[in-house]
């Protein structure tokens, strides 16, 4: 159980050392990532320049959703964001090499890259979280603190499951990578806003099929002690860890099925 983690640590350590070889370039990249992530938040501020509330949500509350989605997504991107390049491995046949090595294929694909500059995005989310928490006056209890700590890893697992499922599409078509973007980058964008603003069909899709509502919306209702504008059962607010576990199982099953479908391009 420990050994794969140690190995992953070594592989990632090597990646980080190599990225730190070009300090100036790395710093610029980190700063660029930090900067570009502010655009989405500027959009939030522009919206609230025009209205005091979006549905029942204030700017501080949306900032809270935004921050938590951004942080979860940034860590997901940090660990598995290179799945975006996965179709290339299928196209040029280098996935063959992965299959003959004595480790799980998904493990190898995930451990093959680690872009440290993506921490810039997490830093931006962290900054917005500090602002939101300072402005919100949350009535902290043990349960709420626990929820805040649990929801980030749960969010990472949900986002990762979506990403892995999307990457499986590459086994059927190698130039359809943008389908996945709709659910990964699109998913982050969705989770940054309260899902009650979306139309009913889109909202149901987000709650029950691609479970992005569990990344922020439901746990945030509990932490902020907010009445659910959708009036859904309160138990959903505590379900994120369970949904995350379920999503991981489903994603793992789809991945294994997809790998069996793999036919080498003959690299």
């Amino acid at each position: 159980m420990v050994e794969p983690v140690v190995l992953w640590g070594r592989l990632v350590g090597a990646q980080i050392r190599s990225q730190l070889q070009y300090r100036v370039s790395f710093t610029l990249d980190l700063f660029g990532t930090f900067l570009i992530s502010f655009i989405d938040f500027l959009a939030v501020l522009v919206i609230f320049h025009n209205v005091p509330r979006l549905g029942t949500w204030s700017v501080q509350e949306v900032a809270f959703l935004y921050a938590l989605s951004s942080i979860s997504f940034a860590f997901t991107d940090l660990v598995i964001g290179h799945l975006d390049q996965f179709p290339q491995k299928i196209r040029d046949g280098s996935f063959d090499i992965v299959l003959v090595r004595p480790r799980g294929p998904l493990y190898q694909v995930v451990a093959s890259d680690f872009q440290l500059r993506r921490l810039g995005k997490a830093a931006q989310g962290g900054l917005v979280l500090v602002y939101a928490l300072a402005a919100l006056h949350v009535d902290w209890t043990v349960g709420r603190i626990a929820m805040l700590i649990v929801m980030i890893p749960a969010g990472v697992i949900i986002f990762s499951s979506v990403w892995v499922t999307g990457a499986c599409l590459a086994f059927w078509t190698t130039d359809g990578g943008e389908f996945t973007n709709a659910f990964t980058y699109g998913g982050n964008f969705m989770a940054q806003y309260p899902i009650d603003v979306y139309g009913p069909w889109l909202r149901r899709f987000l709650c029950y099929i691609v479970p992005l509502g569990f990344v922020c919306y439901f746990p945030a209702l509990y932490i902020l002690d907010k009445r659910d504008p959708l009036g859904l059962p309160r138990v959903l607010q505590f379900s994120s860890p369970l949904v995350a576990a379920l999503a991981a199982v489903v994603a793992g099953t789809i991945w294994r099925g997809a790998v069996r479908h793999y036919r080498s391009a003959g690299g």
Binding site: S25, L28, D29, L42, V46, H49, G176, E178, N181
Partner: protein, 262 residues
Amino acid sequence: MRLDWEIAKRGWRRYAAYPWATAAGVFTNSIFGFLQAYILLAVFNHRSDVGGYDAADTVTYVWLAQALIMTVYIFGWQELALRIRDGSIATDLSRPLDPQRYWLAFDLGRAPYHLLFRGVLPFIVGALVFQLNYPSPLEVVAFLLSLALAVVVSLGFRFLYNSAAFWLLDIRGVMTVAITVNLFLSGMVMPLSFFPDWLRSVAHALPFAAILQTPVDVWLGKHHGAGLAGVLALQLVWAAVLLGLGRVALRAGARRLVVQGG
């Protein structure tokens, strides 16, 4: 002219070679269209007018922006930068064809492909679900003209930031900043009419508005007569200024170009 036409045809064909990528793009643009449309519609629960836009204007804006995202090429483009870095630009410069003219012709072949195959479908998706605004036949002509100018302004801007590669080994940082600024100030992230007054004035004083906000406003019939001629003329001016700056950069860069190895 014949030569430009041939280059433009290649621009079209390059992108036509990946139909699955096109389908996937249409899907993704549609999803983003839905999300943005619903978020901005929630604003109209509280008020009926934002900076001269009503709800239908805004939703039309959102779907047009998604439909035009590839046509006006907001995201990263580094074909010129890569040719500078690997030295192929030396070959390009020795050809009896100016590189800027080449990329302009190529881009004017690419843009109609993206308009037809990445633009029309997501817009139809939006039109099926939401109440949108449609232009009169005359406004369609003005819109297409404005859109063509937007593509030229966009290429002018992309050519300019790519030529930074003559001075920098890696233009990734420059490109990130260029895309960020363009996304926000062109109106891609949010219609400029939603901006606070001071920021809207800043945005309209810069070339980026000519890349998206202007053609969309023309579609929405926000400009008439002399006003319409004015915004088209302004697009033309920005196209000329950016292409001119690109030429200066290309000439200055070519003088200091050192191609390593062979």
